[in-house]
């Protein structure tokens, strides 16, 4: 075997900690004050990955039905994280949960429906987690941008409402901007993929011994999946955020109105 699949032992992992020791030493010498955070990061990454490794081993070993549970737990964690980032949006965690759930299910549904990937735990869980982690960034960008821009533009929003426009219609220019901000990162990274960095899925396959031309085809599917998933998450998050920032009677919610006289 000239690949790294199964070639890394726990002793190797312990040796690699030497690189973290170097980082801690730099922090100490330069007074960065990050030693504590690095220790926490080291401990958490070890514990979290070990736990995930055992969970995935169990799921892949004849318990594929649990994939849904694993993905649901990931969606819940991502929603909590995105919701905390966008906490000025009322009910942000719920907005995130719906948009991330829809993006993950929708994207995996298309991939499976078209027969591009098999409906197996080994495919669905890692692909779903990739969609999710990207969509999480997209959804929280959309929520925070929309909240911020609608507050800043509330005079114009209210002028549009006063002309009899619906909340959805009156907020369209800001929705457009927020959706763009949520999607630009993935559009940009898709443009430079392979030129700036070799992305994770492809790198993983190559390290595991796959042929590069096999690896890039998977990577292409992954990139297109991420684009679609992000767009899906962004548009759902945008629509739901608008519903949280306006009342059913097409009024800005109090928190947005009263930022100034």
């Amino acid at each position: 075997m000239n690949d790294l699949s199964g070639a890394i032992s726990y002793a190797d992992v312990a040796l690699a900690v030497a690189l973290v020791v170097v980082a801690v030493a730099i922090s100490r010498v330069r007074g960065l004050g990050l030693e504590g955070d690095m220790a926490v990061a080291l401990g958490r990454s070890f514990a979290q990955l070990l736990a995930v490794g055992y969970v995935l081993a169990f799921v892949f070993d004849g318990h594929g039905g649990l994939s849904a549970v694993v993905l649901a737990a990931m969606v819940a964690t991502a929603s909590f994280t995105a919701g905390r980032r966008a906490r000025q949006v009322p009910g942000a965690s719920v907005v995130a949960a719906v948009s991330l759930g829809a993006a993950t299910l929708g994207t995996l549904g298309v991939l499976a429906g078209l027969g591009i990937v098999p409906v197996e735990a080994r495919a669905v869980v890692p692909l779903g987690s990739m969609v999710l982690s990207n969509a999480m960034i997209s959804a929280s960008l959309v929520m925070t941008t929309l909240r911020h821009d609608l507050a800043a533009g509330r005079r114009e929003v209210e002028a549009r409402l006063s002309l009899g426009q619906t909340a959805h219609h009156a907020s369209l220019p800001w929705q457009r901007r927020a959706l763009r901000s949520g999607m630009l990162p993935i559009v940009d990274s898709t443009k430079v993929v392979g030129l700036v960095a070799l992305p994770g899925a492809m790198t993983g396959m190559i390290l595991a011994g796959a042929e590069p031309l096999d690896a890039i085809r998977l990577q292409m599917v992954v990139m297109y999946m991420l684009l679609g998933g992000n767009a899906f998450a962004a548009v759902v998050a945008g629509e739901l955020t608008v519903r949280r920032l306006f009342t059913a009677d097409h009024q800005l919610v109090r928190g947005l109105r009263r930022t100034a006289p």
Binding site: R155, E156, E158, A159, R160, L161, S162, L163, G164, Q165, T166, P173, D249, H250, Q251, L252, R257, R258, P261
Partner: protein, 198 residues
């Protein structure tokens, strides 16, 4: 003639204390009613209750004898046109802002030259922008015009023109409700003055 609006024991809460409390007043359907009071007395908030940009925390606002909340809010806002203190222009030309079938007649009605129709709205002077906002409201054929300090941002010449325009709209049969901090403007322009106290 009956009342167009009636405030019945209206209260609105702010983040620190009430903005308006126990306010009652009638606004007749005919002519121009000015609401006068010092800044901070809640005049703007009272206007925003008329087209339901806000709702009161206590009491009720009646339009033609029925709670404003009983009407379809989008239809209500077209009937009751609200123009804020600072003119808000949307991106695009004046014609695009007006979005109406007959923009020439609209700009003529507010005393703007038709040559302005092709100009970008953000290049208008404040006085021109304020009149464009009035034209944009008139395009919806409202029954009521609600104006928040319509001349506060204007120079003396534009102020006189906008005052004359508002007066003529009231004379043509629109119910006009106007907020001003200036008692002299209220007494020389309005048919009726409602005092708002902090």
């Amino acid at each position: 003639m009956g009342d167009r609006f009636e405030y019945v024991d209206v209260g609105v809460d702010g983040d620190d204390g009430p903005i308006v409390s126990g306010f009652s007043a009638r606004i007749p359907a005919e002519g121009l009613t000015a609401m006068v009071g010092p800044s901070g007395s809640g005049k703007t908030t009272l206007l925003r209750l008329l087209n339901r940009l806000e709702d009161p925390d206590a009491g009720v606002v009646l339009l033609d004898g029925a709670d404003v909340r009983a009407y379809d809010v989008l239809a209500l806002r077209r009937r009751v046109q609200y123009v804020g203190q600072v003119p808000v222009t949307f991106p695009g030309t004046v014609a695009a802002n007006l979005g109406a079938a007959d923009p020439e007649a609209l700009v003529a009605r507010v005393g703007l030259p038709p040559s302005l129709l092709s100009r970008e709205a953000d290049r208008l002077s404040v006085g021109e922008a304020q009149r464009m906002c009035l034209a944009r409201s008139l395009a919806l054929h409202p029954e009521v015009l609600v104006l928040d300090e319509p001349t506060a941002a204007l120079d003396t010449a534009s102020k006189a023109e906008v005052e004359a325009l508002v007066r003529s709209l009231a004379d043509e049969g629109l119910t006009v409700v106007m907020v001003t901090h200036d008692p002299r403007q209220a007494s020389h322009l309005a048919d009726r003055v409602v005092e708002v106290r902090p």
